[in-house]
């Protein structure tokens, strides 16, 4: 499975996005456009990403820009796993 498909799967599962997850492309905005992604839910997304990719994400590595678009989140994970 490609990296961005894994990210899509994480968002679908943690945020219960259903078919909306399938329509996410690189330019799809996340922050402010996906109501389910709020400050209460984001910790679950980060934990699932750490688990699925076997990485550790420090608090000061993430911000709103990380979650600006689906593409920015995929790029962040690609950089962490490179």
């Amino acid at each position: 499975m490609e990296q961005q498909d894994v990210v899509r799967s994480v968002l679908r599962d943690v945020l219960s996005l259903g078919a909306r997850a399938d329509r996410l492309d690189r330019d799809s905005p996340l922050l402010g456009a996906v109501p389910e992604l709020d400050s209460m839910a984001v910790a679950g997304v980060i934990a699932a990403i750490e688990d699925r990719f076997g990485i550790t994400i420090d608090d000061d590595e993430i911000s709103g820009t990380t979650f600006a678009t689906f593409g920015s989140l995929v790029d962040f994970i690609a950089a962490k796993t490179a």
């Binding site: 922050l31 109501p35 389910e36 992604l37 709020d38 400050s39 209460m40 839910a41 984001v42 910790a43 980060i46 420090d58 608090d59 000061d60 993430i62 911000s63 709103g64 990380t66 979650f67």
Partner: protein, 230 residues
């Protein structure tokens, strides 16, 4: 956006009746110059979170309980008399900071709480096993991180140590996003409180006892008790 389309969009999130109230509240505030206000709260009950050691520590944030002289609270955007009133009621303020600068906070009190937006005293029961939580703030730059979870977990650890099993809170019935967020914490809506303020007059209608209350004096405050668990 067309007014009708906007109405329908809002109603999809908060319901038609609350959308009508919301529209009336906006009109009242505009026409009344702030002297007339319409407020409606959902009252929610949520379980105190189970211990999660990794989150209780707060990651890279410095977590502490503030007192009314805490310099961090000066950056909280809350009037000093409100902060003083909260501490006088026995409320505690859990503060998170990053490199010495305020990042977020959360308030709770194990016992009655005098609301500062309207004249209502909320009493969460059973006494000692339910707390009132209120005014949770995370600075925008930290909202897409773990900070809220750190605050919630740390507050939960403190409350559990005191034997508290549930927290009760009020959220605006006009805020669909907040309602959905609370749902993710396992919150359930247990009732509502409607308040109409006109000058010094205040009318309250609630699904809890005493059902309704009318007062004019600033010293008159209805007591609304909420049973969080049996």
């Amino acid at each position: 956006m067309h007014v009708l389309a906007k109405f329908r969009e809002t109603a999809a999130g908060i319901g038609y009746w609350n959308t009508v109230l919301f529209a009336l509240s906006r009109i009242a505030e505009s026409v009344g110059g702030g002297r007339v206000r319409i407020v409606k709260y959902h009252i929610t009950v949520q379980p105190v979170p189970a211990p999660a050691d990794g989150y209780v520590r707060g990651g890279t944030f410095e977590m502490s309980f503030a007192d009314k002289k805490s310099p961090l609270l000066a950056d909280a955007g809350r009037p000093s008399h409100i902060i003083g009133s909260r501490f006088a009621q026995g409320a505690r303020c859990l503060v998170a900071a990053n490199k010495g600068r305020l990042a977020g906070f959360l308030w709770f009190v194990v016992g009655p709480y005098d609301e500062d937006e309207v004249r209502v005293r909320f009493v969460p029961l059973p006494q000692g096993r339910a707390a009132w939580d209120f005014d949770v703030m995370v600075k925008p730059e930290y909202r897409m991180g773990r900070l809220f979870s750190y605050l919630w977990a740390r507050a939960g650890a403190e409350l559990r140590a005191q034997g508290v099993e549930h927290t009760v809170s009020r959220i605006s019935a006009f805020n669909a996003a907040s309602l959905a967020s609370h749902g993710r914490l396992g919150a359930r809506v247990v009732g509502s409180v409607f308040v109409l303020c006109a000058g010094s007059w205040q009318f309250m209608r609630t699904s809890f006892a005493p059902r309704w209350h009318l007062s004019r004096s600033p010293d008159k405050r209805p007591v609304v008790t909420i049973l969080a668990s049996h």
